[in-house]
């Protein structure tokens, strides 16, 4: 039995606030742990500094810095957009649900309860930004040969300010339901604008100069690169602007803490605790569903500017397409995949490999598998809500197959678009044509493996802990797509690249086509059998 010591006296209001503000504070780490962190985090920089005599061709450094300077503002703006969307369901200050119900409804100043949490969130944002800046600075140090101290301090400083601004942005969105609604409403259009800007910057580099002055994303990139490039036009102004905007945003978030509505705090507390619980049990599907559900309550009536088709056979694909347009997370994933592959293409690690194409193909396959898993979201919903189709005239298995039409079309178009982009960027026809052919062969494999994963129940932590069964469950949901695609579609061309004797291209193509069709048919049969076990 727990015994409660008698209170020495009623606490003063100030004491009460202090106690409340410290309720959720983490225990301070020991000095030894702090020392360990400092040594651990700085060791790569020290190693780079020691290995500073690596010769880097000067021309290559200039090209690389110019490329990073051109793309970094777009990437950082994309990061802010992602953070803004997170701010629609999570937030800078998330109390527990019970705290919202009991403490926030009591006559205690809300800002006093929220400010310590906001300060902690802002500090965390700055720290994460600093670490990301530090890692980015390290990557640049591998390629360019600037003074280590100035390069890293600029990257860390810029990262910290960017992180602080991003955290303040989350707080700003959290403070108003209307702002969260606006972010949900306009972020797809903004993502499209960003992609367009990226394309324009690629085609017409002078635009990058304008983009770098267009907001905190551009100013931050100027500051970060100034340390590596040994300065740059107007970097001091950019640094001042970044600092002023980040600090002002953080200050404003702190000052207006009392404006956060209790209903919003409750909604976010529910969402975050649910997502945390789902992730604790490695139930990613449930976590994603809870996040979507939290965002759904904010969405206004969906637009009806396109009337649905009248043909029965088109209604399921049309509905899927509409849902993809409404929740275009996959667009961001496609962008991230292309970005990662592009960054990898310019990094020394890839250049050092005998055949960089193999690494790019690997990254592309993994990225495409992740995109495909998002594209089959409608099928995942169908299998998660098995009786929702009871008013439809088709069997559950047929409805499930119908849900694969739009993902297949979108992935096929994305593959064609990616290779068309590569051709426009100057890749030779001798690479683009076979690359496109092999990528198209990968489409059914990726779709069917993602569909199988979507038709399986979520992998609970209990299942994953079951030794071989757990490994099989995880493999069947996540890794089977990339592995099969790599083994069936891209192994034959890899054989050509690495074979000691030249192989006939026709033989390679025939082998790839034959095996990919055979495996696709097998996967299709497995998927169909699996669908018959789903009730509905």
């Amino acid at each position: 039995m727990t015994t409660i010591a008698p209170s020495a006296g009623v606490p003063t209001r100030k004491e009460l606030y202090r106690r409340l503000s410290e309720m959720r504070r983490f225990p301070s780490p020991s000095p030894w742990y702090r020392l360990y962190l400092v040594v651990f985090l700085s060791s790569p920089a020290l190693l780079v500094a020691i290995d500073a005599d690596v010769e880097v061709a000067p021309g290559r450094s200039v090209v690389l810095l110019e490329a990073v300077g051109r793309w970094l503002p777009v990437v950082l703006a994309g990061g802010l957009l992602t953070v803004a969307r997170v701010g629609t369901w999570a937030g800078l200050a998330i109390p527990e649900r019970a705290e919202v119900a009991w403490i926030f409804s009591s006559p205690v100043s809300r800002s006093s309860l929220l400010r310590p949490r906001i300060r902690r969130g802002l500090g965390l944002g700055a720290a994460v930004g600093a670490v990301v800046g530090y890692l980015g600075g390290l990557l640049l140090l591998l390629e360019v040969d600037p003074p280590v101290a100035s390069a890293l301090s600029a990257a860390v400083g810029a990262g910290a300010l960017y992180g602080l601004f991003a955290a303040a942005l989350i707080g700003w969105i959290q403070a108003s339901e209307a702002r969260a609604q606006a972010v949900l409403r306009w972020s797809p259009a903004l993502a499209l604008v960003l992609v367009t800007v990226g394309v324009v910057v690629a085609i017409w580099p002078p635009v990058a100069g304008v983009v770098s002055w267009s907001g905190p994303w551009g100013w931050t990139s100027k500051v970060a690169l100034a340390g590596v490039a040994g300065g740059g036009p107007g970097w001091q102004t950019a640094a001042a602007l970044t600092a002023v905007v980040a600090v002002a945003a953080a200050g404003w978030t702190l000052v207006t803490a009392h404006r956060m509505p209790v209903e919003e705090l409750a909604r976010r507390a529910d969402a975050v605790s649910g997502v945390r619980a789902a992730l604790f049990f490695l139930d990613v599907r449930q976590a994603a569903e809870l996040r979507r559900s939290a965002q759904r309550t904010l969405r206004r009536a969906p637009s009806r500017w396109i009337r649905p088709p009248r043909r029965a056979s088109l209604i399921i694909p049309w509905t899927d397409l509409r849902e993809l347009v409404r929740a275009p997370g996959w667009v961001l994933t496609i962008g991230a995949t292309i970005g990662i592959v592009s960054l990898a293409a310019t990094s020394r690690a890839v250049q050092a490999v005998r055949e960089p194409l193999a690494v790019l193909i690997g990254l592309g396959v993994v990225g495409s598998a992740i995109v495909t898993m998002q594209l089959v979201a409608a099928l995942r919903t169908e299998t998660s809500y098995p009786f929702a189709d009871r008013h439809l005239p088709w069997r559950a298995a047929r409805v499930a197959w119908m849900h694969l039409l739009v993902p297949t079309a979108v992935l096929t178009l994305a593959v064609i678009g990616a290779w068309a982009g590569a051709r426009v960027a100057g890749t030779g026809v001798d690479v683009v044509v076979p690359g496109l052919a092999f990528s198209l062969l990968a489409v059914p494999l990726l779709i069917l493996t993602a569909a199988l994963g979507a038709s399986l129940p979520p992998a609970s932590v209990d299942l994953l802990m079951q030794g071989d069964a757990g490994v099989l469950a995880f493999w069947s949901r996540v890794f089977v797509g990339p592995q099969l695609t790599a083994a069936v579609v891209f192994a034959p061309p890899a054989l050509v690249l690495y074979a000691p004797e030249p192989l006939a291209t026709t033989d390679v193509m025939v082998t790839a086509v034959f095996w990919s069709m055979l495996v696709s048919l097998g996967l299709g049969y497995w998927f169909d059998r699996r669908l018959r076990t789903i009730p509905g």
Partner: protein
């Protein structure tokens, strides 16, 4: 026409339905009544071919309802309203009704029909809401709208008046009577005899999975089986 013969459903040792026979010709409304656990829901799930019985046959307009080969044709003919509404979480009420109407080939006027039905069930103001934003009664109305917007030959409803207010219940009675008058075979379960008064042409009293009484509204509900189940006829007026 709906015809079931020797329908039996067992859950282990429990016989939820035993040797159940029923013929519902086109243009007739049959009410299934009984206390909780008497087998009403099991019966309507089996006779709408949503559940495979342990034994027996289900024939819908001459088609074997339990044959997988006829599965989709049966789904086209039978509209089923279960006791628990199930929706897609990401579609609005209007999108659900339109989806069902178009999927069943309701034709050129399907969108207009959907809109008219939403107005009839007083859901126009909530048409752009998602299911989780609705009350239980409104979800039931949306569920009924989905079942009514599509063409059907057989209409099977399990406790459809649950959660509905007086006005909505009155609309439901009118809508079921209209469906019957258009030539549909209607089967509806209820534990409220008042709901079936003036609607059901025939009433079946289920007791422990078996038919306890069958006949006109007054005859069936005046039987010993109905009295043992605590059911009494209600004056339709």
């Amino acid at each position: 026409m709906l015809e079931v013969r020797g329908l039996t459903k067992r859950y282990g040792q429990l016989a939820a339905l035993e040797d159940f026979d029923l013929v519902v010709p086109a243009g007739l409304c049959v009410g299934l009544v009984g206390h909780n656990g008497s087998g009403k829901s099991t019966a309507v799930q089996c006779l709408s071919a949503r559940m495979r019985p342990t034994a027996g046959t289900v024939t819908i307009d001459g088609l074997d309802g339990l044959d997988e080969a006829h599965g989709e044709e049966v789904r086209r003919r039978v509209s089923y309203v279960g006791d628990a509404p199930a929706f897609y979480p990401d579609l609005t009420v209007r999108e659900h009704v339109e989806l069902v109407a178009i999927a069943h080939g309701a034709g050129r006027g399907s969108l207009e029909a959907a809109e008219a039905l939403l107005e009839e069930v007083d859901l126009t103001g909530r048409a752009d809401f998602r299911p989780h934003q609705l009350s239980a009664g409104m979800r039931q109305k949306a569920h009924l709208a989905c079942a009514m917007v599509r063409p059907f030959d057989v209409l099977v409803l399990d406790e459809p008046a649950g959660h509905l207010d007086g006005a909505a219940t009155a609309w439901l009675v009118r809508a079921l009577a209209a469906a019957r008058d258009r030539g549909a075979a209607v089967v509806v379960t209820s534990h409220d005899p008042g709901f079936l008064a003036g609607l059901a042409d025939e009433v079946v009293v289920l007791v422990e999975g078996r038919i306890g009484a069958q006949g006109s509204y007054l005859d069936a509900l005046s039987s010993d089986a109905a009295r043992r189940s605590g059911l009494r006829p209600v004056d339709p007026s």
